[in-house]
């Protein structure tokens, strides 16, 4: 069987560079398999996060040949083997070691979001057709690839005033929950900085769960912010109808 050459980032925040490893290719092999091969046979201290190895936990995100990917779902036979396969940590987060980054910012953003708050006296009847769009958002596995690729984070470093696509998806899942009863529009505008997003759809492109982040989450949320803060008529209508959730 042929060999592949992997060029993997080794190092920490202060010092680092790439190192090349030769790995024998097996049928159906994914990049994470290759990294595990290196750990088991060459360098046991190569730092990699992973859990399920089946695209369900979102732990093994990295940049393979410059593209943000889950390494457990990136097939070696889909990559050109005439040159080394590069594997770098996600660029938008500080490196801890090798491919492991500090993603704690995401957990801090999440804490700001008011939880699901049901309407008083609800009977807990919900219909599938009202839930389909929310279930799309609930597919998110928190791989943070969308956060990594978003230029507001990646190039403009707006972590303090911006929530990022992952948390717009999360807010959308709450705002569009058929039985939720609070508005998170002010949070979106003031603390999560949804206005910074200029809908380039980079997040949608990298989502391994194929969530249409921009079209189905961010744009409706932007509209909601506009309605609530910049459209007095809509605001009045909502007040009268007592239902802040537009279809």
């Amino acid at each position: 069987m042929a060999d592949a050459i992997l060029e993997v980032f080794r190092g920490n925040q202060e010092i680092g560079g790439t190192k090349q490893y030769t790995v024998p290719i097996a049928p159906g092999m994914v990049v994470l398999d290759a990294l595990h091969y290196i750990q088991a046979n060459q360098e046991p201290d190569l730092a990699v996060r992973w859990n399920c190895k089946a695209g369900k936990c979102g732990s093994c995100s990295a940049e393979v040949n410059g593209k943000p990917r889950l390494t457990c779902k990136t097939r070696m036979d889909a990559l050109p083997t005439d040159k080394p396969i590069t594997v770098y940590p996600m660029k938008s987060f500080p490196v801890i070691k090798d491919l492991v980054t500090d993603v704690s910012w995401n957990y801090r953003v999440n804490k700001k979001i008011p939880p699901f708050t049901p309407k008083p006296g609800t009977d807990w009847k919900m219909y599938q057709e009202d839930m389909d769009r929310v279930q799309e958002f609930r597919k998110c596995i928190e791989c943070f690839l969308c956060q990594n690729v978003c230029h507001v984070v990646r190039d403009h470093h707006k972590k303090e005033e911006f929530g990022g696509p992952r948390f717009f998806v999360r807010v959308a899942s709450l705002e569009m929950h058929p039985l939720d009863n609070v508005s998170r529009a002010k949070l979106l505008k003031d603390e999560l900085g949804i206005g910074y997003c200029n809908i380039t759809k980079c997040c949608t492109e990298v989502c391994p769960e194929e969530i249409k982040i921009t079209d189905n989450a961010i744009i409706p949320l932007k509209e909601r912010v506009v309605d609530e803060f910049y459209d007095p008529i809509m605001k009045l209508v909502r007040k009268i109808r007592g239902a802040p959730k537009a279809g």
Partner: protein, 575 residues
């Protein structure tokens, strides 16, 4: 300088080790009871193994099949477990699961719906009625995210990427834990009045497994080291359907929901072989039966191209398959180049779950050590000799909650905690020893050989000769594990982490093998080639208990519980 000032130290009322479904549910309940709570997890929050649970949560809500009730769920669970279950746990579980599911919904979980707007339930192996509340085939993700967000909002402290290497004891009482931060490699002392073990299972000791790197039996081994009892360790579940091809994905779970939704198993001759093994329930027989059936087909030369069976759902409309089994659709398409709406999957047994674990009381989840509680896969009792699909997620909710309550109640009355520095010093010395060795083996090669040993000698079908050999191999592996060498620094060093996880895996591997050798019968997931029949007279009436006796592992038999008359009547055969 004392250890209390030498190490980063945290103090809580309740310390929960493990942040999967059981740990998070325990944390929520302990918080609600007013305790100060910390949750420790080896991974990032939200990545625990619960996330991989696919098929659903079993709860007799009777939304689809109106005739369902807790009594039928109790009966199915007990019969599926070949009556080795702790009957009281099985009763509490069946009675409380529906309320636990409703609670999840009230915290924001969105289950698939019936046309009436209720929670939809699907069929699963061994369940008489359609009982599994689900979200497509990603139920575990929905559950963990719901619990995680609830807990974070309520305000527990989360210690992510932290591995516990020793329970700290004061006499017999458990008073906290000692561990290290995986990122930096620094040690940390976690003092607590009560500890809940919610660390999951042991599958990483086998080569073909659906389990992630985290599943190294830490909780059971730590509890054992501290003096707790382990129960029923011979009962290891091999899920019938793991992926078999390509090699890199071998063992990855193929949800039972494929069969729940109508998937059919065939051998290479196209025969629907379950007709031979369980003509009544067919593909929806219990997992032990289906796993053995597939294994037997393969062994007798009727396996699929890569040594499994064919599982086919392509007779259902493509859109239906994609809606009900979306992650299976993607998993096979991306990892195996198979479109499951068009053709069959190849599947075979994979080590999935351990029914045995820390022995606990049904009501409070208290272990045999004061101050130590256990829930979820780390605890034993509910599932007996074989777990039904869907009963794991409900287990996490029902007994996670009870463990949280039990631990908070214990902590409220417990005196202040005193930590013994010598235990900490000893644990630190052992942990750092692999760095100091001038030469020694790579921990990965020891792990590989352990997996081969357990896979080949203590697998689905067991025989005395093999298991005696396994005992010898485990002894050699222990020697090797004690001499491994670790390179590099303490900064996020997987080789170093594995050097400690290996010890836990070796402890539980020995416990499994000893119990499996002792149980001279076949029951549920424990199949002996040399004792192929149930032995109700002897082994139907006793259970294996493992304890530590100095450096030696001690195995004893205790009488099995007697099911009270009124519940026993529910268990009778229906003719």
């Amino acid at each position: 300088m004392t250890n209390q000032t030498k190490y980063e130290t945290h103090e809580h009322d309740v310390l929960i080790i493990g942040a999967g479904g059981a740990g998070l549910r325990a944390a929520i309940e302990a918080l609600a009871a007013g305790a100060r709570v910390a949750v420790v997890s080896k991974s990032l929050l939200g990545k625990a193994h619960t996330v991989m649970a696919e098929g659903g949560i079993a709860a007799a809500m009777a939304n689809v099949d109106k005739a369902d009730s807790w009594r039928t769920h109790f009966r199915d669970t007990m019969r599926g477990g070949k009556l080795m279950n702790n009957w009281r746990m099985a009763q509490l579980h069946a009675q409380e699961a529906p309320e636990r599911v409703r609670e999840l919904e009230q915290w924001g979980a969105l289950f698939d719906r019936t046309s009436d707007g209720d929670i939809l339930q699907r069929a699963f192996g061994g369940h008489t009625f359609k009982r599994l509340c689900h979200v497509g085939d990603r139920t575990g993700l929905e559950m963990i995210r719901t619990l995680q967000d609830r807990g974070v909002q309520m305000g527990f402290d989360v210690f992510m990427e932290c591995t516990i290497i020793r329970l700290l004891t004061d006499g017999k009482r458990v008073v906290g834990a000692f561990g290290y931060w995986r990122e930096q490699g620094r040690f940390v002392v976690l003092k607590a009045k009560a500890v809940v073990m919610a660390t999951g299972g042991i599958g990483k000791a086998w080569r073909v497994t659906s389990n992630s790197w985290e599943y190294t039996g830490d909780g059971m081994a730590l509890a054992y080291d501290a003096g707790a009892e382990l129960l029923d360790m011979e009962f290891v579940q091999f899920h019938p359907t793991g992926m078999v091809w390509p090699p890199g994905v071998q063992g990855i779970l193929v949800t039972e929901a494929v069969r729940g939704e109508g998937g059919i198993l065939r051998n290479k001759a196209g025969e629907r072989f379950m007709e031979k093994y369980d003509p009544k329930r067919m593909e929806l027989s219990t997992r032990d039966v289906v796993a053995r059936s597939i294994y037997t087909e393969v062994r007798e030369g009727r396996g699929s191209e890569h040594g499994g069976a064919y599982l086919d759902i392509s007779h259902k409309p493509a859109e239906y398959v994609k809606q009900k089994l979306p992650s299976m659709y993607h998993q096979f398409k991306e990892l195996a180049d198979v479109d499951i709406t068009k053709g069959p999957m190849e599947v075979g047994p994979t080590c999935h779950y351990v029914m045995g674990g820390i022995r606990v009381e049904a009501e409070t989840a208290a272990s045999s050590l004061p101050g130590l509680f256990a829930a979820g896969e780390a605890a034993a009792g509910l599932h007996g000799a074989n777990r039904l699909g869907g009963n794991s997620l409900s287990d996490l909710l029902v007994f996670g909650r009870r463990a949280g309550l039990g631990a908070a109640a214990y902590a409220a009355k417990a005196p202040a905690v005193a930590i013994d520095d010598t235990q900490i010093a000893e644990a630190e010395r052992d942990m750092l020893a692999p760095f100091d060795r001038g030469e020694g083996e790579n921990p990965y090669s020891v792990h590989r050989d352990l997996q081969e040993t357990m896979q080949n000698l203590v697998g689905i079908f067991r025989i005395e000769e093999d298991m005696n050999k396994a005992m010898g191999e485990l002894e050699k592996l222990k020697q090797r594990a004690a001499r491994v060498r670790v390179e590099g620094s303490r900064l996020f060093n997987p080789g170093w982490h594995l050097s400690r996880d290996l010890k836990s895996m070796l402890t539980i591997s020995e416990a499994v093998t000893r119990c499996a050798l002792a149980r001279k019968e076949s029951r549920g997931a424990h199949s002996r080639i040399d004792y192929p029949k149930l032995d109700d007279q002897l082994w139907g009436k006793q259970q294996n208990v493992i304890t530590r006796d100095g450096d030696k592992m001690k195995l004893q038999q205790i009488p099995a519980q007697v099911v009270p008359q009124e519940l026993n009547e529910l268990l009778a055969d229906d003719k």
